[in-house]
Every structure is written in structure tokens, then in C-alpha cells.
Symmetry: C2
Subunit: 318 residues, 2 copies
């Protein structure tokens, strides 16, 4: 059986799995990215995870390639460059270094672009020519498809929408020092920052007054919203409002038929999605109103990013 | 000789000309759009201008089609829809109505998209696959090319960047009621609004303290800057700063190789372009720095929009 290695390098976790030609992830694992500050050790860890998975089958498998999704990856240069949410700084020639350990066709792309390819090959965008995939993890990324083609950009860095400024230079700083950058508001980290902001703004009681920033997790904020915590509800509404404005802006760029939402923040379910739909529709200008669908990803629920990364290879084997 | 009719419908002027296959405009004229509140009379005026031009040649010409650039035009529907800077409201089926008067192949597109096609066919983008054209007239529009193809969007309305919000809902209103919308700052009208803002902010003397808003023209602001008028200089710097931020945001979307600038505001020359280049480069995130060129249009200096509109037809006759 032919299988593709899919790797998703995230600010928090790195996920690795083996993916069949329907996009199903047959076996997968993850480890914490930040525990591998040395890049060579990071690559060794990847290699050992792949070997473990490859030996877990009791029938023959044939690995035909390895696709990688990562923040600030250049598809054209095969590099990670100046990533805000990764430890390795500067320009890291990841493809050539990984190739020394894995002798297979390799391809890398911005994680959200990989997710967009995955959505086209395996998910809910099979018949669409114009759509955007937004990934909301530690940071915020975008994969943009127009005229049926992924937009990679002149140098392979299209879709870095987490660092677009929403505040004419007067807002929160992102990890790349962009003032008012979107991911400082709309991401797992952005939501946590908004919890602090709302506690600074209001005097209302909240469970979060007893929790340090470093101990704060997205699931806790969802749980607090379910319990009616005022600060959590305010934070979700604020996040949804800014995200709705941003998506209305992005619509004006390529006018997508649909925008797919993926990643940690989406796990907060209706607390983020219901106000988002309302704000988004409200902020769209007339010519776009009622025409842009907000959709969930159709990739496998537990391993969307791995399937997306594998799509980089499967795209050329279909 | 084969010629194409090129029409540019702007908020202030409508321009009409006949364009050869090299993109040169052999004869042209314009009239004031706002004097034709009745749409049928507007179309009759267009028809009579075309007839006048067609009869001005002393050799045989063959009109092979008519291309139209206009704000808020849908290439896919053949309509003008909810245009902020035009008198005719709602949805105007311009192509079918014009076809009753002109029996030629007709095509319409957002004016900035037409300019982008023109730049690819006749101008400075002949060998580029990823670029953006910004038109800065009464409003602000964008024509976006990625992977060598114009991005039209699901419904033909891509590139309406004048109505993207730069201020998370806390700024000037555009003609479509978008708060903080870019064209409320960066356009001929936006610059005039900024003159008022700077006079409200500072007490410095200025020639503009004696001029009413309705009597204010872009050329006067350029002239004032040349004379060292404090308010004019502040206004250009502020416009350039916001535009630089906006272009840095747009770069994060499709990562163009170049951004072309066209339209009235560009006529202010170094007063807008020098600070713009500085701010733009400053606001780009690391992966884009030094990679995106800001260029002037290579279309005929006096009739770029007419040549752009004609490109809609010439595109299919090359």
C-alpha cells in the first residue's frame, strides 16, 4: 500500500502521521516542538517517529514521499524563514537538511496553504475554485486558492495574514513586531491576551482572576463561557468581532466562495462561531453579503494538518 | 486597421478612446460622469462619443469590440453593483443595456482589474506572474494577478480594497459606510479629508484655511507642498503612512513581485511616493523586505485607464 508521510510543525506541537490516498491518517503521533531547540535533534526526532510508524504495520507499505506544513515556510526555497512562533531563528534550509535523513521526495509549504490543498484533494472544497483556509493555532495562517490554484506568491510566502495590521499601527504586537497584527487578537494566544485585556477593562468577577497567564488554556476559556463567566464571554465576543472584520477585509481581496476555519480556536465551537458569523455578515459590503460561506474543514477531525501536509505529495500522484 | 473601444467610467470623469493592438490610444475624449444622472442618457452620450471618434479617421477602421473598466463592476454578471462613487444605485445591467446601442463584443471589469490586464498586455508587467495594480482616483481599487492569472473572485468582485477596514471599526466612513475603510484615507478624496483633519489637529497657518472643502483640488495640495505648506506636508505624510501599512498588508496576501500605482494621487509625485516607499518597506515583515517593487504604470501616460479597458478585448485577439 502506498502511503505519504504528513508532518505538521506547529508552534506548540509537531504532528507526524502516515496518510493514504483518500487522505485518511492511518497512524500518527505528536511531540512538543519547543523541547527541540537544537534543529538537528528536532530532525532526528522526526526520523525516529517516522521509523516507528513505518514499522507498526503488519503488511507491506511503500512510502512515496513526505509533505510538511509549517509556519513561515517557503514552498519555493524549501526553507523556514523568520518564523514568529518557532524557536529556530533566521533562515533554516529544512528540506535539504531533512533530505540527508530521509531519502524520499520532500515538499514543504506554509501550514495553511497545505491545509488548503488538503481541503481541495480530500475535504469540503473538492468542487471549489475560490476559497480560503484559515488556521487558528498558536498563530494565524491562511491558505488562499483562486482560479482553482493555490496562491504561493512571488517567493512562496503568500498568506501570512496573521501579521496584517488591523489598527493603523496602534494595537498589540505580534511575535514579528507587527503592531495591531491579526494573530495578536485571533489565535489561541490572542484569545488568552484578550482575557487579560477584559480583566483590565472590567471589574467583574471571573475564574481567571486566580489563574496566571502561563497557566491559561483555551479549553478553560470555553468551559468558563459555558458557566457564564463574564470575562470569557466578553473575550469571545471581542475575538469574533475582530475576526469578522478581518474576514470581511479578506473577502474584498479574492472574493472567495467559502472560508474554512481550522485549528485550536475552532474547538471553542459556538462561543466563537456564532458571534463570528453575525459580525462577518454585518461587516461585508453589499456586493458580498449572503455570498460567502463560513465552513468547517472536511479533513479528518483529529489529524487535519497531517492530511493537509500529505496532500503536497498526493497532489502529484492522483 | 483593427481598433478596440476602451471606456473608463470613473466617479468624476468618463473617458473614451480607440486603442490599437499595441495599447496606444489613437483618439480620446472625456465627459463628466455626474452630469448624466439618467443612465440611458449616459449610454447615449457614450454612443455619440464613439461615433464621433470612429468618424475622425481618414482611413478605414474596424472596431472589433468594446472594453469597459468601472468601479464595482462584476465581470461575471456584466453589471455595476452598489457603486460608492457613481450616481446610479443598486444593480445596473450595463452590458445588456449598452449592447442595445452598440452591436459589438462587450466586456466589463472592475477598473483596477482592467488596468492590471492592460499592464500585463501593454505595460510594465509583461513578464510578471504575481503583481497588484492600485488605482487611486475618486476612490481606491485594486487589480490582482497571481500565478499569471487575474483574480476575479467567485462572483467577479475581487479587489475591492478601498473598503477594507484599517482601524478595527474606528475610523472614517467610506461611501459604502465601511468604518476605517482605506479609500477614506488613500484616494484623491481621502487626501482632501486629511487636509481637514490636519487643520483640525494643528493650529499652523495654511493656504487651505481660506478654501472650502468643495473648492479643494488635488493639484492645489501638491502646489502647497511645494511651497512648504505645513498642513499639506502633514497630509501627504499621513496618507503615505496609511497607504504603506495597507500595501504591507496586501503583500501578506498574495506576495506580489511588484505593486503598480496609477491614478490622480500618483500625480502628486515625490510628495506621496517618497514617504510611501519608506513607510512601505518599514512595515513589511522580514520575509518580504527588499522583495516587493513599487512601480509606476507602463501604460500610456495620458490614457492608462482607456488602454486598460481595451485590454479586456485585445486579450482575446493576440
Amino acid at each position: 500500500m502506498d502511503l505519504v508521510i504528513g508532518i505538521d510543525i506547529g508552534g506548540t506541537k509537531t504532528k507526524i502521521g502516515l496518510v493514504d490516498k483518500e487522505g485518511s491518517c492511518l497512524v500518527h503521533s505528536y511531540f512538543r516542538t519547543k523541547e527541540y531547540a537544537d534543529f538537528n535533534e528536532f530532525l532526528n526526532k522526526i526520523k525516529s517517529e517516522i521509523d516507528k510508524h513505518a514499522h507498526s504495520f503488519d503488511h507491506d507499505i511503500n512510502l512515496i514521499g513526505c509533505g510538511i506544513g509549517a509556519p513561515n515556510a517557503s514552498s519555493k526555497n524549501g526553507t523556514l524563514e523568520h518564523a514568529a512562533n518557532l524557536k529556530w531563528k533566521g533562515v533554516v534550509p529544512i528540506l535539504s537538511l531533512l533530505n540527508e535523513k530521509i531519502n524520499l521526495p520532500l515538499r514543504i509549504m506554509n501550514d495553511a496553504s497545505a491545509a488548503a490543498l488538503g481541503e481541495m484533494l480530500f475535504g469540503n472544497a473538492k468542487n471549489m475554485t475560490d476559497f480560503i483556509v484559515m488556521t487558528l493555532g498558536t498563530g494565524l495562517g491562511a491558505g488562499i486558492v483562486a482560479n482553482g490554484q493555490l496562491i504561493e506568491g512571488y517567493d512562496g510566502f503568500a498568506g501570512e495574514l496573521g501579521h496584517t495590521d488591523m489598527t493603523i499601527g496602534d494595537g498589540r504586537l505580534t511575535g514579528l513586531n507587527v503592531r495591531g497584527g491579526l494573530e495578536a487578537y485571533v489565535s489561541a494566544t490572542g484569545l488568552k491576551r484578550t482575557i487579560l485585556y477584559m480583566m483590565s477593562k472590567y471589574m467583574n468577577d471571573s475564574r481567571f482572576r486566580g489563574i496566571a497567564f502561563n497557566d491559561l488554556h483555551g479549553e478553560d476559556i470555553t468551559k468558563a463561557a459555558e458557566e457564564g463567566d463574564f470575562i470569557a464571554l466578553k473575550a469571545f465576543d471581542y475575538t469574533a468581532k475582530i475576526f469578522g472584520m478581518a474576514l470581511a477585509n479578506f473577502t474584498a481581496f479574492t472574493q472567495p466562495e467559502a472560508i474554512f476555519l481550522m485549528g485550536g480556536l475552532v474547538n471553542s465551537g459556538k462561543w466563537i462561531l456564532e458571534p463570528l458569523e453575525r459580525y462577518f455578515e454585518d461587516y461585508l459590503i453589499e456586493v458580498y453579503k449572503g455570498k460567502v460561506k463560513l465552513l468547517r474543514s472536511g479533513l479528518p477531525e483529529k489529524t487535519p494538518a497531517i492530511s493537509g501536509a500529505a496532500a503536497l505529495i498526493w497532489q502529484n500522484h492522483k
